[in-house]
């Protein structure tokens, strides 16, 4: 089961109602054999746009992020269910991504080119490659002098 992030905008409503809505949403996941890893509340915030859902105009919404594991085939089903839910204004499902390990390498990158590891590697690679089109005179050709202009 892949990990998904279910981002939801729920309509403005009092807390007990919000709780029942969240419970309903969670049970829909449990019913389809899913796992909830985490529920995150991003707050009650004004929406970027005036949004219409289920015949009502919304200007503010409760932002929630569910981190869930669910079978791939259940995702469409869940989306369909949440689309019918009148309390859900907008919903999106994203595949959760591993946090990237971006260590800061600025110090190394600011070194002069000759000290940089990747430049050194490039120089080494260049040394192994021979140009086929330049003929180099071999001194063991039997002549005791270099026959061309130096």
């Amino acid at each position: 089961m892949p990990t998904y992030e279910l981002a939801l905008m729920l309509r403005a409503m009092p807390k007990p109602e919000l709780k029942t809505t969240l419970t309903r949403i969670s049970h829909a996941i449990f019913d389809r054999g899913g796992i909830i890893r985490n529920i995150e509340n991003l707050g009650f915030r004004p929406m970027p746009y005036k949004t219409t859902a289920h015949g009502l105009v919304h200007r503010e919404a409760n932002y929630f992020v569910f981190k869930i594991d669910t079978p791939t085939k259940a995702v469409a089903d869940l989306k369909e269910e949440y689309r019918r839910d009148v309390d859900v204004v907008r919903q999106r499902v994203f595949l959760s991504q591993e946090p990237s390990k971006n260590d800061c390498t600025l110090e190394e990158e600011l070194l002069p080119p000759a000290y940089r590891k990747d430049v050194q590697n490039m120089i080494d690679a260049g040394k192994t490659q021979v140009n086929r089109f330049t003929y180099k005179f071999k001194y063991n050709s039997g002549l005791d002098y270099y026959p061309f202009q130096k």
Binding site: L18, L22, I39, G43
Partner: protein, 214 residues
């Protein structure tokens, strides 16, 4: 200049008439004045016709007899030659054939030997290649299994933190009570100010340094 004798001894005529100069092109139709002209048939007298017929017949008969004579002679000669040398030629041919077969068999034996050796080498090479591939596949498979088991172990460690139907209510309460905010500001010293509604208060020494510099 030109002597009379050289003029008289000339091989080519002085004036050459060419028929083409007067001829009309092929694509022009028959002239109007010649449309109904019927060319006159050559008239040959009866005597002359009979004479020509006789000469012609004579010529044909004689030629036929000569041809037949040479043809029969050729056939006779051929048959006599074949009967004379048939035994001899057959024997020579058989000997040649036997020699060829022997040589061919020798060559075949040599090629078979070479092929056997080559096949042995090829088989060894193939075996080595297959073994190498299998070993590599084994290593990859082992790596994959190790990676998967590591992932499973990690998830098992995490599993107590998962939300179950029993802990759902508490988790929802917790989430509603504690909204998270990933926004933050950062100053020149690298200090992070988490949250979007946080009031930033600078340290006093900072302010003093600023005023001093200004």
């Amino acid at each position: 200049m030109l002597s009379l004798s050289s003029l008289l001894k000339r091989t080519l005529p002085l004036v050459i008439q060419s028929a083409e100069a007067h001829r009309k092109p092929r694509w022009l139709p028959v002239a109007k004045s010649k449309i109904y002209r019927i060319p006159k048939r050559p008239v040959i007298s009866e005597e002359e016709r009979l004479e020509l017929l006789r000469l012609h017949n004579n010529y044909k008969t004689q030629m036929r007899s000569i041809k037949r004579f040479y043809h029969e002679e050729m056939i006779k000669e051929k048959s006599s030659r074949e009967s004379a040398s048939s035994e001899m030629s057959q024997r020579i041919e058989a000997e040649e054939w036997a020699r060829c077969v022997e040589l061919n068999e020798k060559w075949n034996a040599q090629v078979a030997l070479d092929r056997q050796e080559r096949r042995k080498l090829e088989m060894a090479e193939q075996d080595e290649y297959a073994l190498k591939r299998m070993e590599r596949a084994d290593v990859l498979q082992k790596e994959r299994i190790a990676k998967a088991s590591e992932e499973i172990r990690r998830q098992k460690e995490l599993s107590p933190t998962f939300i179950t139907p029993e802990t759902l209510e508490a988790a929802i309460d917790h989430a509603i009570a504690n909204p998270t905010d990933y926004n933050f500001a950062i100053d020149l010293k690298g200090n992070r100010y988490e949250g979007r509604d946080v009031q930033i208060t600078y340290a006093k020494e900072n302010k003093a340094a600023k005023s001093a510099s200004a």
